[in-house]
Symmetry: C3
Subunit: 322 residues, 3 copies
């Protein structure tokens, strides 16, 4: 029941941010509350606070992702940190250096934080177990395992529209099997007390033991979203569409695409979310993506504030927050 | 006769900078005057003014250009802005995201300004029509259409040497057809009152209706530059040299290359300009490029000041300028 | 006997940093002393001093090197400079622009410093001979010629453990022929008064006239490191292992790899150094690389301080140093 111990220090404070799983509810609420204060920073002309001035943040991306890297880079710059972007595919490992050696070398440069994206589940935790006491690691997505800042920006966006988690019905729709986003979202929603969490998708894209996470399982979209307050659509990866797991994108849309007609089955004031980038006409209809129930772009905006909150918390600089 | 309305706000102030065409003379002079003040910043040890502190500038380059990107990045950094470089070829569009979605996502990160280079004419205006009220777009070169900051740094350089535009004779030499630089220069020189503007080049590289812009057309270089005060040489693109439009680079130089002997036909104190990078021995002789009449490197230096001026003006921060 | 005149100004102060060869002893000591003061900057929460605020540093890498580029970028940022990274392979030269023109263009942007890595020996000096009076050049590694900041961080690390250079015995082990690091180290150790410098390696990897530098030559590792206070292992390049110059990496390790057993032949308190990245099991055993005599990661940390020292000295900003 305890959090992965490595994430918290002996006082229960966040030291690394690797997974939502097993984190205490109060900590998630603390992140959300800090993020709330950072949202105003983005609205100012001078979008900068000096919390991480003179700190060195290294974006360590073993898997390319302009969008996620950009949000972390912006969050770090708005906290006044110095940011280095390292695309590891193209550098050290080419020289045959081991991951451990690369890390120790970067750490020896007095780096304060590593933001890590990696195609292998567990890589950020592997790194967190190696770094020196003062250094923090944030998981920016690892394999199929977790994407905790994405989940936090999702629940942050939900809270802004639906303050009472304990009354909510939330449906997550699409490729659950391959989605680190879905895994982290389910953990976050559970911990925050959402009583009705549903996953919706074809059998080929739902993990076999998914019920063990305490979620309802639906293969029919109309049933799955009936009456829900929040619909979270997942991105369908291109490679999935070309595999035997699925018919074409067009057919997928026919069965699992969110259209205005289908959305009517959800609660009247339901909000629609998506981690982006969206595939219009595959998992979501443009009329829904651009409609008044969509909060997809708000998710992006909140992503900066949530990352600023997590980055300042792991470095212990949140006390004086903006 | 009115400016492309989208570029100006209701008070006639610059909001986007997309094209020179139809801008009022006073606005061009205002840019030049602001740039004049920024030239001193480059001479200081501390080459920084706090005008855009905490603002987020995104360099959105759909067409690679280290030189132009570098000047915009430096201009933004010297204005104390936070700069993000996005090479769009290599990122979002690879995932099949539409340009509009990429833009809205970046905008949702509270970006203040997009500096856009695109291979398609009109792309920066397309973007400017979509962004939110507080966001500005600067065209860093689109297709064959326009390169307005290049034109402004050219007229800025001219004004430093030849203060009275209304007395000038200016020749633009080379591949006019494919040159967004030439188009923007002609507009800027016209608006600033230059009475004698000439384009010089082989028929294959001059647009058919070019006279309608109010310029003289010459196919003979000696005639075209006779008595001019300013010679602007254009870069000959490699692909042009390999096409059927032109003989070899060597033959082009024989007919249209600017040599010391030919330059003698211009006014004695004529200045020689080139947007760079130069092809020595193709459109220009090294003795001219490096000679005392060349102001090619001054153009580069002024390019930073002019971009600082435009960037601070579109964000409404020029009032308190350095 | 005089330093390459171009490196020093008329008062004997460092203007460029191109090679260790022929520099006066006092200047090396001055660099070490400045670096000493910068080591504390890395330990602070706010790892920043304002010495180069508003200065523009361009990392001009003609040969890719994430590690070296990162250390220079971090050093510049911690001095509060604005840094631009230019990978020249991928940009200007693609357009057929000459190196001289690229340089003059960057210089015209009011650049203060070029940090240059180039595959050709002498390229940084070539550049230093062209830049304007106020602009400095730092060699970040050129061909087989020199890597002076690496040598300075090595002697800095040595001095922290073995303060009296005049009593030391130092062995440099491996591929001396192809190593710019070894060349610069030998010069630095000589100038600082180390009486016993040895190079150790197979005949195929030792230059023929190496004795003329005043070093002892050994082909047997056990003999070469007998009693030394410092062992500097060089990286064995992959391409060397695949060439006719050497047997396999495995066989190389058998003959020249540093194992705990062999290290016992050195002085009991000998330190082990390596410029990185290390090839575990090729030139060095993991037990040695990670052992208590290894100072390899300290070298990385000191590399930032030494580069901050050199960067601030060449721009004349060291007087007010942190």
């Amino acid at each position: 029941m305890a959090a992965t111990p490595i994430q918290l220090d002996e006082h229960g404070r966040l030291r690394h941010f690797l997974t939502i799983e097993n984190l205490p509810r109060e900590l998630l609420v603390e992140i959300l509350d800090h993020a709330e204060r950072f949202t105003v920073v983005g609205d100012r002309a001078v979008k900068k606070v000096p919390l991480l001035r003179g700190r060195t943040v290294v974006n360590l991306f073993f898997e390319p992702s302009t969008r996620t890297r950009t949000t972390f880079e912006l969050a770090a710059k708005r906290l006044s940190a110095d940011v280095m972007n390292l695309n590891i595919e193209a550098s050290a490992t080419r020289k045959g250096e081991s991951l451990s050696d690369t890390l120790r070398t970067l750490e020896a440069m007095d780096t304060d934080m590593f933001v890590v994206r990696h195609q292998d589940s567990g890589a950020p935790e592997f790194i967190a177990r190696q770094v020196a006491p003062g250094v923090s690691v944030i998981n920016a997505g690892d394999g199929r395992h977790a994407h905790p800042t994405q989940a936090m920006l999702d629940v942050f966006t939900i809270r802004r529209h639906k303050p009472a988690f304990e009354d909510l019905r939330v449906a997550i729709v699409g490729d659950i099997t391959h989605s680190r986003v879905a895994r982290s979202e389910i953990h976050a929603l559970k911990i925050l007390g959402v009583p009705d969490i549903r996953v919706v998708g074809p059998k080929t894209l739902l993990p076999t033991a998914i019920e063990s996470l305490g979620v309802g399982v639906f293969h029919d979209l109309d049933e799955g979203i009936a009456g829900v307050d929040v619909v979270i659509m997942l991105r369908l990866q291109q490679e999935r569409m070309q595999s035997a797991l699925l018919p074409s994108g067009h057919e997928y849309f026919h069965t699992y695409g969110l259209t205005p007609a289908r959305l009517k089955r959800a609660a009247r004031d339901a909000i629609v979310m998506h981690p982006g980038p969206i595939n219009r006409g595959v998992e979501i209809d443009s009329a829904v993506a651009d409609g008044h129930q969509s909060v997809i772009l708000q998710q992006v905006t909140h992503g900066i504030a949530v990352r600023m909150a997590v980055m300042s918390m792991v470095l212990g600089s949140h006390a004086q927050a903006a």
